[in-house]
Symmetry: C2
Subunit: 357 residues, 2 copies
């Protein structure tokens, strides 16, 4: 009977481990400090003179807007450099939290690795919703546009090798991560706020995703506290004025164009190590599969940018994950089933560049 | 010299303690699990048939919206009951995080007390921004309207006894917590999503603030997993049909009206313990100070509601904090300088009602 008890006990421990690995942090983390703050932003004032007897007149009232929102956590015995995470289009800091199927996202994975994490909602998005400019939100259904553009598959089919959970509930959670702009997107407004984030985080590695790539490059041009950049499938790249490549034709509704910046700004990027990761299912030849073609032209632009950066002494590596044996990644590699492998590749690069101190 | 060294050491420890109490968690917390998820919501579909060759047509595409966003943390050896926090008007879950001057908010305070915390962004707010209905966001400056309505003072003057930091930077952080609706506020939509939050949190105490009060009462009518409610200055109260008091005149632009609900729904609230807290600087007589008068009529309505609830067997206590020796509280008692005292009063009540197990 002792033997049966032991088997039951062992089975029960296994069940508990399975539950833990599927739905919870892989190990407890002791947090020394955590909290949130707003960074950067501006203040606008209504015309007229404030009159405290007229609550709804708004004459002379102020609005504080265009700041970033940041949630930070500091584990005990943390590495010196912070990790600052900036989401992409239509997303918020949710991008880096639990995956759609409830596994650890990069927030937990890097905490578990001992890094201070700073998760940002960019200005005019999420909990940083207060904008100095008005806007209209359409509530236009467009889930399928993003399913294809994010290279999960061609609706309603998943790519066979896609490293994502293919159950209905996980897809439901994924679609609900989308959240609208509460004011028009402005790369300079985002970069200004991000520079203020780094004043609070201190020296760190900036991790950007997708449309966060553009303001990410601009952030590193504003502050030397960005010690390195990890860009996950960035949407665009900055080139010196006069060296922006022609925009390549694509079947995607979102063309990939380089951005022109003054040479002295461009040169700032050559002073820090940068790695760019692209996932799987990105073709090399033009295709009518516009979800894939969107990334074909971006990966091609990335390689042109890598060449120009290297010409000016930059330290840039553009990595296609399948080339290093990490397969099936969608545009959301931080949430894919193999996200721990992706995180390991990132940390390996950080260690090589002296950023994991 | 030893003596001088000791003094320097003691001074250094004091400085360190001061820094810690001002800017960090009061003690490290070991987190067994943390993460985020979306709860509830609905799906709408565009008319027409989806055509994968036309990415921008949107015919037959879906939109997943009207869910709540939740960030949860589970400390080791946690109490059985969860604590679920629902913000008020113009706010997000930021309400419960770090205070404007960087001290622990209720998120950290209750984690440190060993509670599982669930911080919610209601549907159509913050990171739960995806709405099934369109909207327009005006970017109308109105900081001063809220400064007065939130009983911090009469702009530009703070109430002398206001338990808030009175430096410019803290006020800047406070104003930036405001974030707009990304779809019209709908109490039933919020309550539906909140009931789904409790399916994930399990049995717990619901803590509501201000305009979160209305959907909070409605949540407890939907699920028995709400084991008790702590309502911080709720904006409204539900009465049995036919027993809603007349709306009292007020100099505030926001009248306080009771809501009529069917008797069987009302009766559900009489089955759980409820405490309602109001802060300081709430007058008993009508006043042209509309920021204060806004709360005079609400506190009066709360007391009428308490009487009706008791008539039907309910367990409700309406507490004015100054009456129990907690002074100077604004509408944001979870962030005021004495917020630990407020949290202690809440926990004392929870223990008395068997909710702190």
């Amino acid at each position: 009977m002792v033997r049966a008890d032991k088997i039951i006990l062992a089975a029960s421990i296994c069940m508990s481990l399975l539950t833990t690995s599927a739905m919870a942090m892989s190990k407890p983390v002791t947090i020394e400090d955590q909290g949130s703050f707003m960074a950067g932003g501006t203040v606008v004032t209504s015309p007229g003179t404030y009159d405290g007897t007229k609550p709804m007149s708004h004459d002379g009232e102020t609005l504080h807007g265009d700041h970033a929102y940041v949630f930070y956590q500091k584990p005990v015995k943390a590495h010196k450099n912070s990790m600052v995470f900036l989401h992409g289009y239509g997303q918020s800091s949710k991008t880096w939290e639990s995956t759609p199927d409830g596994r650890d996202g990069f927030q937990n994975i890097f905490l578990e690795k001992g890094y201070k994490t700073y998760l940002v909602d960019e200005p005019r998005r999420g909990k940083a919703g207060r904008s100095t400019v008005p806007t209209t939100i359409s509530a236009q259904p467009d889930d399928q546009l993003w399913f294809n553009t994010f290279r999960i598959g061609q609706w309603p089919n998943y790519y066979e090798n896609a490293a994502v959970p293919k159950d209905k509930e996980s897809l439901d959670q994924f679609f609900r991560e989308m959240t609208p702009d509460t004011g028009s997107f402005n790369e300079q407004v985002v970069a200004d706020a991000m520079a203020a984030v780094f004043e609070k985080s201190g020296d760190g590695v900036l991790v950007t995703h997708s449309a966060g790539g553009g303001p990410g490059w601009a952030t590193a041009m504003r502050t030397a506290k960005v010690r390195g950049i990890i860009a996950l499938e960035p949407g665009t790249f900055p080139f010196p004025q006069g060296e922006v490549p022609a925009t390549e034709a694509t079947s995607s509704p979102f063309p990939a164009s380089g951005e022109a910046v003054p040479m002295d700004e461009f040169m700032k990027l050559t002073k820090i190590p940068i790695v760019v990761y692209f996932g799987d299912n990105i073709p090399t030849e033009p295709t009518e599969n516009w979800g894939q073609d969107n990334w074909r032209v971006r990966l091609k632009l990335a390689k042109k940018w890598e060449a120009v950066m290297k010409k000016y002494g930059g330290d840039v590596t553009v990595v296609s994950l399948p080339d290093i044996g990490i397969k099936g990644n969608t545009h959301f590699m931080m949430a894919d089933l193999n996200n721990e492998q992706v995180a390991d590749a990132m940390e390996k690069w950080m260690k090589k560049k002296g950023l994991a101190e």
